[in-house]
Symmetry: C2
Subunit: 261 residues, 2 copies
């Protein structure tokens, strides 16, 4: 069985990877099953993880990801590092619009939301900080995909593309045209392609060398939205974030290619 031949490092990582947004709290037996470990092995490893603070055991006996792991993870340049550099610009975007502001990076063939600021009256969106999403539907996703290496684009466009609404573009040829438009205009628009009532306007964030390292977006109510009017605002924020990342002491961010898992 897989669990028997895996290295101990692999077992430890499998235990950490057992936690998902849908299941952030797990019993020991759930942890063992999801990690593909025997109960005895899981018990031993989990005790070590709890002692270090990578996991925490609640009063209910269930395990959760621990604050100590979160502290270490907060050092990830593409997580909180990028977020810290971007925050003043995201706050500015939020203050002048009171709409949803999002910051995302590409991780392989998907995107990960690094920050989200949501106005109370803003249109509801599905995003969660630390959560993943497909690249072909959202504004930030299109901005990231438009500037991804060709092989990444081809792999995404060659895979089955989920339709979230009737407006989601799943035709590869049409998506290629949209990505070309993103590169030409400097911003991406997702109009009702994730939820019918929302329009997202996104711009790529570039580091000092011009490499796209992230994307920032404004997500507004579809009724009365003027993407072309919002675009300069988002593009200016993206430029500011890129500058802040490239400055001394700023976050150093490298895009990461998909890897076999």
């Amino acid at each position: 069985m897989d669990g028997e031949v895996r290295s101990v490092t692999g077992k430890v990582l499998a235990l950490l990877g057992a936690f998902t947004p849908a299941c952030p709290e797990l019993t020991l037996s759930e942890l063992a099953r999801r990690a593909g470990l025997s109960l005895a092995t899981a018990h031993r490893r989990v005790a070590e993880l709890v002692a270090w603070g990578a996991l925490e055991r609640g009063a209910d006996g269930r395990y959760r990801v621990g604050l100590r792991l979160w502290e270490v993870a907060s050092l990830a340049p593409r997580g909180l590092g990028l977020r810290e550099a971007a925050m003043p610009f995201l706050e500015d975007l939020y203050e002048v619009t009171h709409e949803n502001v999002q910051l995302a990076v590409r991780e392989g063939l998907e995107l990960v939301f690094v920050e989200r600021i949501a106005g109370r009256k803003a249109v509801p969106v599905w995003t969660r900080v630390g959560g993943r999403f497909a690249l072909h539907a959202t504004g930030v996703g299109l901005a990231l995909l438009a500037h991804a290496p060709v092989e990444v684009q081809e792999e995404v466009l060659g895979s089955p593309l989920q339709a979230y609404t009737e407006k989601t573009v799943t035709n590869p040829a049409r998506l290629r045209e949209m990505l070309a438009a993103v590169r030409r205009t400097g911003y991406a628009v997702s109009d009702g392609q994730v939820t019918t009532d929302a329009v997202s306007v996104a711009a790529p964030v570039r580091d000092g060398e011009g490499t796209v390292i992230a994307a920032v977006s404004l997500v507004v109510h579809a009724s009365g939205a003027h993407p072309a009017t919002l675009a300069p605002l988002v593009q200016a924020a993206a430029r500011g974030i890129g500058r802040a990342c490239g400055s001394p002491g700023g976050a150093r961010v490298f895009p990461r290619e998909p890897i076999a898992r």
Copy 2:
């Protein structure tokens, strides 16, 4: 040597723990040295961590904490979970004051900042999201310490207490009086005790059972600050956050006692 008898889990965790706010990027030999591992062992483990995405290797050959670890860590109830529940209330505090807003939890004998919103014109503060700080000096620290178990209070007050400014209170008897005042009034004030030009007003966040799980603060310029006027604002935010955490689907947060490391 320690590295030889440690379990593989311990070695993996030592590699992750090698990254600190001061050293978020490390070469392989730095990683090996800090983790107390041979270069060969470190090389093998690091390769596994990179393959999984727990670490990332930059174009410069240095290693950083990876986005995949950050994704898993974002599931920590006391990290982003708490932060997500608190964010609307922190945004409100920021909007009406445009000062520094901070959210922290106690981790053993220190505090960890879980969120910070800083106005551009706000007084400069030292905090970093994911960063640690002593409990005896800041507003959030005093609010957390006042409601910590007696043994935690005694261990903190019995340790050498750093003086950050001439106004930092390091006398245990005086600190005990201050903690009693925090419990009586429901809020904590740190006036020039971390930096001379800043005043912090903090309030404890309680879960549904009344347990203090976090603290929220407003940090303003010392000149013209009226802590008693700011306190109700901070206390109201703290109550809102506590309610959001206790609600169905809200973050479930457990305080964690100090453990031997």
